[in-house]
Symmetry: C2
Subunit: 328 residues, 2 copies
């Protein structure tokens, strides 16, 4: 019997989860839930209903895992605890600083309902966290560094769009190659924000806008750009559409550490991602963890989990025997 | 209270485990067991006894986890099931083809004794297996490739040493850069053995030996070299000692896969290791999993486990709260 999946929220992430489910032989999409008028939402899968979120509670017994595809700022802090009271759930909550309180709220809800939840699933938090944690446990005499990019930062692109005279914008975060090399060398460099990443902006200006003024506003913007070396390119709307419509991202977790009688041997553990589509990859991770959450719940392991708490075998449709025979 | 550790077998791996324990605040070395005359074995840690293996069973209640540091060919198939009857154990059994039978034997022994065992712990099998498995579960429309090196292959070095006229030798396995690039491109290349790795040999010949004859014997040796492009360098004993006394290794697990409505977005997940000392890194992994095995046993999770079955949090001395607050 297939694991019956619901998708709640149908933006880039929800659509990505829908695509990922097509490659999951053991899972089946039962319904997509939206806060919009369902008539205005058309999905990719035939014969699957699009329903208003208000109908989700009534489908409690028809859905094994709800994949929550809302945003971390406004949606998930409310949604995940609420839906964990009704379903097994996974979310991609990515506000690092607020994870402990989110965990506590979801854990309480899931324990009360006897459901299983996995939060902060994706690549950072998520796979990157796992690699930081495991590398640190294996080489405690060492240090982990995380670099992001090259990739589109939605938050930074939005910040530029709010500037007067800007029609549209796309911002890329780019790791500095020299910093990557310094880290890989094992020298444990102290790196400033400016030394780790640069920012490159492609901006479509309104007609007649003061370009130099826009450039100044971008590069001096507190928190977003002032601590970085930022390059601004003004391009046409057509160029933005043609060359910058994808949502690529990625990055590196590099851990270097020492072993031996007196740390005489150095080691480098490096994990990297190069993603054509950030939301589609994130939702592929969510989908694999939806499988895990279902199985954990079947075994009676309820409450809130993170990537740290879930044995990797739960992510795969293969049996333990198959995994050991073919992948170990 | 510290986790009380025994090390069984004091070669490179046992010594590496001893070093790793010095960086584990929650673990304590209780004894080293050897099949040699204990008087001839001197270890790095003061006030820790070196005992004959025959005394291990008597210390059943004094040791929480025994780290088994024997070899996969002759030692572990016997040792791991036997000691799993007495202790929680970890081993680095790395004969991929025989893992299922080793698992079955250890699982039965550990379930009978109520102990917990983790087998095939290290980097391949081990961390590489974990990355192959997770990447495949996340991007099932994709393919994983494993490359080894640059590093010393002990087996190939030994094979060269058995050739008449060879005094000593060191063999390096080297991944082919073009093959790595082809894999990273996402083109899913079909690669022959020859296309993936080359082999480089540093050989010290006996005086008066026929060097061309030795070279021919190496490059045509079935299974070991005949399917590879192999380079042979003759060097002096001093040069071998000076330039090739380390045991470096490493490698790459690269998984490329597709997502989207019709696989229109490509992704690359890459995990790589660059290790100055293969045995010291392997024993650092063993030590972290010894911690996990102890905790699993405390929770009543007995029997045989692999990297697939163990939630990552068990590897770290940090609590769940600390992990979520600092590493997620």
């Amino acid at each position: 019997m297939s694991i019956r999946i619901g998708i709640l929220g149908y933006g880039n992430l929800g659509r990505g989860a829908e695509c990922a489910l097509k490659n999951a032989p053991d899972m089946e999409l039962k319904a997509v839930f939206t806060r919009r008028d369902p008539k205005t939402v058309s999905i990719l899968t035939e014969h699957v209903p699009v329903l208003p979120v208000s109908e989700a509670p009534g489908m409690k017994d028809d859905i094994d895992v709800m994949i929550l595809c809302g945003g971390s700022a406004a949606d998930l802090p409310e949604q995940t605890p609420y839906y964990a009271g009704l379903f097994n759930v996974v979310d991609s909550f990515d506000t690092h600083a607020r994870i402990p309180e989110h965990f506590a709220a979801v854990d309480q809800a899931a324990k009360t309902s006897g459901k299983t939840a996995a939060i902060s699933i994706g690549w950072d938090p998520g796979l990157f966290s796992l690699n930081r944690m495991m590398a640190g446990a294996i080489l405690p005499e060492g240090q982990s560094y995380t670099f992001w990019g090259k990739g589109v930062s939605q938050g930074h692109s939005d910040a530029i769009r709010r500037i007067k005279g800007v029609k549209d914008a796309r911002q890329y975060t780019i790791p500095v190659e020299e910093a990557l090399q310094a880290v890989r060398s094992g020298s444990n460099p102290e790196l400033t924000t400016r030394q780790k990443h640069t920012r490159e902006c492609f901006v479509v200006a309104e007609e007649g806008a003061d370009l130099e003024q826009i450039r100044q506003e971008i590069v001096t913007m507190p928190n977003y750009f002032d601590e970085y070396d930022t390059t601004v390119h003004f391009i046409s709307e057509e160029e933005l559409k043609r060359d910058h419509s994808g949502i690529p991202h990625g990055g590196f977790v590099i851990h270097t550490g020492k072993t031996g009688v007196s740390g005489e041997n150095g080691h480098v553990i490096e994990y990297s991602l190069k993603l054509d589509s950030n939301p589609e990859f994130t939702s592929a991770v969510l989908t694999a963890y939806a499988r895990a959450v279902y199985r954990l719940n079947q075994e009676g392991q309820t409450g809130c989990k993170t990537v740290f708490d879930i044995a990797p075998a739960y992510l795969s449709p293969m049996s333990g025997e198959e995994l050991r025979a073919h992948l170990l």
